[in-house]
């Protein structure tokens, strides 16, 4: 009874803190621009493929397998965590075991996966600590990013150790009960000299509490870590941009202006749309909520930057930095935005205070980054949105692009040729 009561208190604190964090993080979503989310079936298919099937992670097969094992392991082990919450509240032990067949399956796979996850995490730590992997470096990878990565890996490592510990001492305190369903834990249990029963019982309780408290702590550290992606990546994949990658998003607000320009007699009522605060993206509030979700789903793996032609050839652009900048700027501005509304200004902006023009103009829109991202983040949409702001609100474009634009305006081609010259090739 005391245990259940204690557990309830801890659970309520965990949920309370978590909800408070969620409000802080997601509170600005209603202020951001809309993003179409039609096509549920297509989205479901993408989610099955990219999230559950880890299709993009497997573009790098070896390390991809390690990640997929951790991901699938988490799905299975989460069932066990739900059971632990029920056990903790009800004072029962292994609540799901009342459905023995189902239970055998989840316990068995949970046991196997806990070791697979453990091994994968050790491999990830080794890669980070001992190997020089290009995508783990870059201007945007400050020491805090490295600490963040290490902390998450160590917590997961401890989670697996405590899970195995719980199972091992469960077997020692309940001989013959789940030995067949927990093959690895049973094997490890054999290496322990059977301790006296009360000590084994204490060890079981200790590991059990260690595991569940780590889960609770992890859940509340995640919202402030790049590993928030544990929660955000599946929704992010579901809400992916499902248009062809090269398609740019329409700007109906410009269509209205252009139509009035081409035909001043056009009745404005026909093309009625509220005039936007500004064209393109200068700061957080000019982004869609999906751009923001992208930033929350980024785990800074750097696969995008690792395939970016601009970055590979030494330009300043790094697609990962763009996404991390969105997240950092949103974090900086969201409290003010929540308090004072959409017109809140703090004298800073995503453009220039975070992302320079040089980075934006280096993009070739090749979409290698967007194609690579394991959680379907779309970086070029942000880059092009910012170019739109530069070109239309500030009329600041690189000089050669300015001449290209005036050529199109004057003679309908990016080069200085008259329209009649379009027929020259026909003489052959």
């Amino acid at each position: 009874m005391t245990k259940s009561f204690l557990f309830l208190i801890v659970l309520l604190i965990t949920i309370g803190v978590f909800l408070w964090s969620m409000r802080r993080i997601f509170g600005i979503i209603p202020l951001l621009k809309s993003f179409p989310i039609k096509n549920p079936w297509k989205r479901l298919k993408v989610t099955l493929e990219v999230a559950l099937g880890q299709s993009r992670i497997f573009r790098r097969p070896l390390v991809g397998l390690a990640h997929a094992l951790v991901f699938w392991g988490f799905l299975i082990i989460t069932l066990g965590s739900i059971e632990m919450v029920i056990d903790g509240l009800s004072g029962k032990e292994r609540f799901f075991s009342q459905w023995p067949d189902f239970y055998r399956v989840i316990v068995f796979s949970g046991d196997i996966f806990s070791v697979l996850v453990l091994v994968s995490i050790l491999a990830f730590l080794a890669r980070r600590l001992f190997m020089k992997i290009r995508r783990f470096y870059g201007v945007e990878m400050k020491p805090i990013s490295k600490i963040d990565a290490a902390v998450a890996l160590i917590i997961i490592l401890l989670l697996m150790i405590s899970l195995l510990g719980t199972n091992i001492f469960y077997i020692l305190t309940h001989p013959g009960h789940l030995d067949d369903s927990l093959p690895i834990s049973a094997l490890l249990a054999r290496f322990l000299h059977s301790p006296d029963p009360s000590q084994a019982h204490r060890m079981h309780e200790t590991f059990w509490w260690m595991h569940i408290l780590l889960i609770f702590a992890f859940a509340n550290i995640l919202p402030y870590s790049k590993h928030f992606h544990v929660f955000t990546s599946i929704p992010n994949v579901y809400f992916s941009r499902i248009e062809p990658l090269s398609k740019m998003d329409h700007m109906p607000e410009i269509e209205k202006e252009v139509k009035l320009m081409l035909d001043p007699s056009a009745s404005p009522s026909e093309t009625e749309l509220p005039t936007p605060r500004r064209f393109g993206v200068k700061d957080i509030e000019d982004l869609t909520w999906k751009n923001y979700l992208d930033a929350l789903a980024c785990t800074e793996c750097g696969r995008c930057t690792d395939v970016c032609p601009a970055n590979l050839t030494g330009k300043k652009l790094s697609p990962r930095k763009i996404v991390m900048d969105v997240r950092a700027r949103a974090k900086e501005k969201r409290v003010g935005l929540l308090k004072h509304g959409i017109n809140y200004e703090d004298g800073r902006a995503l453009l220039r205070d975070y992302i320079s023009e040089e980075e934006l103009w280096a993009c070739t829109t090749c979409n290698a980054c967007a194609r690579e991202c394991p959680v379907n983040i779309n970086q070029p949409v942000i880059i092009l949105g910012m170019r739109r702001y530069l070109a239309m609100e500030e009329a600041v474009v690189p000089p050669l692009l300015a001449s290209m634009l005036s050529n199109i305006e004057n003679n309908g081609a990016p080069w200085q040729y008259p329209a009649e010259a379009r027929e020259a090739w026909m003489q052959f």
């Binding site: 030494g314 070739t364 290698a368 474009v397 290209m404 090739w425 052959f428």
Partner: protein
């Protein structure tokens, strides 16, 4: 005196089945004009009912849009859509992946709905239908590598059609390390074609050219005017233009025709 007569829409009193959208590079770039001519020859050879807009063609607005000028893009686009609708065009073939992408994916947002095909898909269709008599002997001892245009491959998921056209010409295909969705950009997309690159330790086209050369292929096949400019420049700068030729997939087909 012209050997080939290219039908121009304003001189035709009817709507042909296909509009051949030439694009700015196809009309003005000296090297790509040859690709335009090669593709037109294939259309004539296969007796395709087509026409061109000639001087009535104008920029689709792609580079303006990618440079951020949505206003200019939409003015160009609305003008093009008006012209296409005036001629009651239903189907469009283009030899430029950038024109292809914008006509196919972006014009519908402004009310322009057309069936748009890139010439790789169209050439594959002609091959499948047996409308091109290919002499497989002509190129069989040669090897080509293929550089995926971003706006065709990653951008629109078309990877197989250009490859089937290449192998359909009888030539051997040897892939680069980074191919299909892993392909490396030539460096020209997103309006980069019209500006200087930002400072870096090398140029994107130089990086890609080195990869092209490492295949030891005799031909690098492209399917985009900008990719062609970039890779041809890269090959010239490496002084390898004696060893490797940069040809469009349409030129490969033309070379292998009976």
């Amino acid at each position: 005196m012209s050997e080939y007569k290219i039908p121009i829409l304003r001189e035709m009193n009817r709507t042909p089945e296909y509009l051949f959208w030439v694009g700015c590079a196809g009309a003005f770039d000296p090297r790509y004009k040859k690709v335009t001519q090669a593709f037109a020859k294939i259309l004539i050879y296969a007796q395709i009912d087509f026409g061109c807009l000639g001087s009535e063609e104008t920029c689709t607005g792609d580079p303006a849009r990618r440079a951020g000028n949505e206003m200019l893009y939409q003015m160009q686009a609305l003008q093009v859509i008006e012209t296409l609708q005036r001629y009651q065009i239903k189907k469009i073939i283009t030899i430029c992946p950038h024109c292809f992408n914008i006509l196919k994916n972006e014009y519908p947002d402004l009310g322009g709905h057309f069936e748009v095909m890139h010439h790789s898909t169209f050439l594959k269709k002609l091959l499948d239908e047996g409308r091109l008599k290919i002499n497989l002997e002509k190129l069989k001892n040669k090897t080509a590598t293929f550089h995926d245009p971003c706006y065709l491959g990653r951008g629109n998921g078309i990877y197989d059609a250009p490859r089937e056209v290449i192998t359909g010409s009888g030539i051997q295909l040897r892939e680069m390390k980074r191919n299909r969705s892993f392909s490396l950009c030539c460096g020209a997309g997103g309006a980069q074609m019209f500006k200087e690159a930002e400072p870096g330790h090398t140029e994107v086209y130089a990086e890609r050219t080195r990869e092209v050369l490492s295949t030891q292929a005799e031909i690098v096949a492209t399917a985009c005017p900008f990719c062609m400019t970039m890779l041809s420049d890269g090959i010239k700068k490496e002084n390898k233009d004696e060893e490797i030729q940069n040809l469009d997939i349409a030129e490969l087909i033309l070379l292998s025709l009976h």
